[in-house]
Symmetry: C2
Subunit: 191 residues, 2 copies
DNA sequence: TCGGTATTGGAATGATCGTTCCTGTATGTT
DNA sequence: AACATACAGGAACGATCATTCCAATACCGA
């Protein structure tokens, strides 16, 4: 048995970037082959068809998003935790990647009506991030680091929504300074 | 000279709804014909090709968005103006339309890399809404209805971004109650 | 009534795309 | 050395799609 000569994880990371930039329908198999550096036969035998590959890319992106949630799990002051989350999501990347927005958000909105399942998968991964927000706020409330009056569930939904909006704004090409200003305004809800 | 038997504005409004639901690439000419209730030849002679039709639909949607901005132009208390804006945008529609999100946001994110011009057109229409926000806040500041410390430009960007996020959330199928709660939280920046 | 034009429907075209299949060649394992 | 399998490239297929073209019909204006 001859082993694979290419690194499957590396190839998946590469194609995730491509989907991130161009979306599912906007990416042709030909581009995928060039980007991953392998040929048609290898692609179909290693990853299945284009749709299956995209699902794997969504998974890959989801784990990246999970990494960005680590500040939310560290029992920091909630305002500081959110600030660090945004730093990871928006400013720990080169600008050209930031301008891609969010693969999950793009997938939810870029739907053609059919294949609603892809949108569902993306939404479920976003829901995981929202849960991280919620748990962060709940824990903060328990130890008195957050006012009792606020609803952790609602606050988590608020920050998730803002994050989605920021992703759209980033895709529109907003400057880093503009993004930082909007984040600062949103953080005043903690005061 | 025989006149057109169909109402051009009505047909345009109908197809705008269709694009709103399914996006540009997700809509076939066949669906367009059924939806508008006319046949191929009439479509091409009255509206040009599919792309030209989509641009006209973007225009149509832009004027609808302009209508939603009227509360921002009425010198209300800014918090109240924003509240009414959101009422028009999200709650003056049947739920199934709310779930479509925003045609402009969808267009910006649903791009296949090529035809960047469509995204540019959509972004410019969103920019008009943002200007309405900004002017609303500037005017409020001049007459003392808004704290001098805040930056009208930044605040307008903040609410635009939140609106985009809400559009995504609406497309995900969030409940009306959840949307209202997020809006309420966002309005605390005025306090 | 007559001519022009809109309407209707469908056929034909040309292009793109995903997918499968096939023929080699190269290379690692047994 | 021999076999299994990955790699490479391309041909072929089927499907979808936007667009153009063409014929036949219906209807309004002069």
């Amino acid at each position: 048995m001859r082993p694979l000569t290419f690194n499957k994880q590396k190839a998946l990371a590469d194609v995730t970037q491509l989907f991130w930039r161009q979306g599912y329908e906007g990416t042709s198999v030909q581009q995928i082959l060039s980007c991953m550096g392998l040929n048609r036969s290898s692609l179909y035998s290693a990853f299945g068809d284009k749709r299956a590959l995209f699902v794997q890319a969504l998974d890959h992106f989801g784990t990246l998003a999970g990494v960005a949630c680590t500040p939310l799990r560290q029992l920091l002051d909630p305002k500081e935790a959110v600030r660090q989350f945004y730093n990871l999501v928006f400013f720990a990347l080169p600008a050209e990647q930031r301008m891609n927005g969010c693969l999950l958000v793009n997938t939810i909105l870029g739907q053609s009506g059919l294949d609603e399942e892809l949108a569902t998968i993306a939404a479920s991964k976003l829901a995981e991030v929202e849960q991280a927000f919620e748990r962060c706020f709940e824990a903060a409330q328990e130890r008195g680091a957050l006012k009792q009056a606020v609803d952790p569930h609602g606050l988590a939904a608020y920050f998730m929504t803002l994050t989605k909006g920021l992703r759209v704004a980033a895709r529109e090409g907003r400057s880093e300074a503009s993004l930082r200003q909007m984040i600062a305004i949103s953080l005043t809800v903690f005061d």
